[in-house]
Symmetry: none
Subunit: 199 residues, 4 copies
């Protein structure tokens, strides 16, 4: 679907994506029908297929957009960091903040992770982020700042903490205060530091 869109077309496409994001996040992808989306926007069903090849493609487009936005945020945060460990912390904070600000995207990520049809695109993105983090961790290990360990594994551990805590926030189990982020960051950094070097 490489249609050249007019200004108006671009807007419609955006509307469809925004509304679908909402419905998919609230109702689930499979239970949300294309008709529900177009009716919700008060347009004909054909409109949908003018802009997207299929319902699947729509979700993929949404996910790609969201990932792009998240990555931009992370990059911006990390690039302003003074030291490697600062970078890790900044990246962590940026991820969590973004995820808390975008509950719908977060939910779609979670769903997409359970479905191989969408998984692919996400995993590549995740891998990039994890690799970035792993590189920083490796550097820190080489510099003796943190004990040696499997940098990839540790990066995933960070991601796990991050993700799960955000999920609890969205579920209302935890409050969306800065404390959650602070606690997560603290937990992660100490987890990385490992056995406090004897003094």
């Amino acid at each position: 679907m490489d249609r050249k869109l007019t200004q108006r077309g671009e807007e419609r496409r955006g509307q469809l994506m925004a509304y679908a994001t909402q419905r998919f996040a609230q109702n689930g992808f499979h239970p949300t029908s294309v008709a529900e989306i177009t009716e919700g926007l008060g347009v004909g069903k054909g409109v949908f297929y003018w802009y997207f090849d299929s319902k699947e493609e729509l979700l993929r487009a949404i996910l790609a957009d969201a990932q792009l936005d998240l990555r931009r945020r992370q990059r911006a945060a990390v690039s302003g960091a003074a030291s490697p460990s600062d970078g890790i912390e900044a990246g962590l904070r940026a991820s969590m903040e973004w995820s808390i600000e975008h509950p719908d995207y977060f939910r779609l990520f979670q769903f997409a992770a359970t479905d191989d049809r969408f998984n692919g695109g996400l995993r590549k993105g995740e891998q990039v982020a994890v690799n970035d983090a792993a590189k920083v961790l490796s550097a820190a290990m080489d510099a003796g700042e943190i004990p040696d360990g499997d940098a990839t594994l540790l990066s995933h551990a960070l991601l796990g903490v991050n993700t799960h805590l955000v999920q609890q926030v969205h579920r209302g189990v935890l409050d969306a205060t800065d404390d959650v982020i602070d606690a997560a960051v603290s937990f992660c950094l100490h987890g990385l530091l490992g056995r406090p070097s004897p003094r």
Copy 2:
């Protein structure tokens, strides 16, 4: 569906659940049809509805079974622990081991978490586990073993690490060696210890 089942009936029910677990995990819940399940087992569709009220109920039954099994394993592990912190470690290890051993159940948990129709049952179970863990953490805090903090939040952090690393193992990103579990445990324990409390 509180039918009293004969011996043979129990077996059939078990077959249905086992096969469905497989299909749901591999194909997804929505994309897997009831017909696929009954045909896969070579039985008529009536059989399915003799044992389950609906496809939804089937998944709920599978999830309940799985949770029960997981909890049993955790309880057994924790109950044999000498100290609170030993209990935390044992519980963590037990969770990860079970999750690695049961990829299909793990996938279904992940999926169920994204769908409010199934979420409910799981969350109660998760909450119980988290509360158990939080209690131990609180005790450890009171005993000065670990610094004060939000016990619930920390429990979720543990769960996040656990879950995410297992996922990577299932995805083949990480190898299913004991090292993963060791690293996770170490990461978690140090995360909990946080800044070594001044003495």
Copy 3:
């Protein structure tokens, strides 16, 4: 679709094929919807897909059945012939009679010939019939009964006469009397004989 069908199922399948044959022949394949077929029989839409994988498959099944029937008729006619030329005449007559008796099947053959999706199956059948005829013609040539010529081409010429005249009968341009068949046979035989070999 290799379902084992009960007696009742076999009947339903037959009903669907018979009714669809009628509708496809009268209305055309594309313009006839599956709904039209099931509604015409007063059954649910699902019934259709219980017996056939798709509308396409249904047509293919109809065509295969029809071809089988036609071939049986031809074989029976030819097998009873005393001489080669008798066989040609008998086959020709059998073809035309069958085609005149089965206007719906005839129409579907005509349509299928215009659509590559259905063409395949038919052409194989046609080729078999043509080859059979060509063999007889070759024999007749060798025996000096008819002048030498391209046996395949001549077989197709016979088929062309046969087919087109039947079409005119169905259209009401020609009357469905034995005269048409007689005339066709005469035309064909003389066409084959060609310039009476000088003696």
Copy 4:
């Protein structure tokens, strides 16, 4: 749609018809969408409906054009013939040559013959041609050149041979050499001559 078209307009209309002819012949009329045609030409959908009232009308226009062209060719051929039987042969040859040169048109004729919505126009044209031929045949019968018979029926027999052999050429079953036409003509003429009148 009796729009007066500018020079450029005529060209566009011609482009649309040419491209559609191709697509209809290759893909089939029903399976080819208006969008496919306009996109194939890189023009907007509005263009199509500027020149044609509907997809149906487009096909009718194509068929009418094709018929006109064929008839012109036949008329030219027949008009130059010295004798009635020469005329028959010339007409036959002209038909076959034209049909072999225009596979797309030929295919569309075949398709149109199976659909009552388009059949009408064609049949009138066919009838004219058949009547022309029948008149010549009648004359030949009266003159004792060929045995008496149903002139209309025989004309259709000629048409059948002609049509079917051309089809085989397009299908690659027969080679598009002059031999095919020669053989067809010979077959037809001898078919008409029937039992060589005893002298």
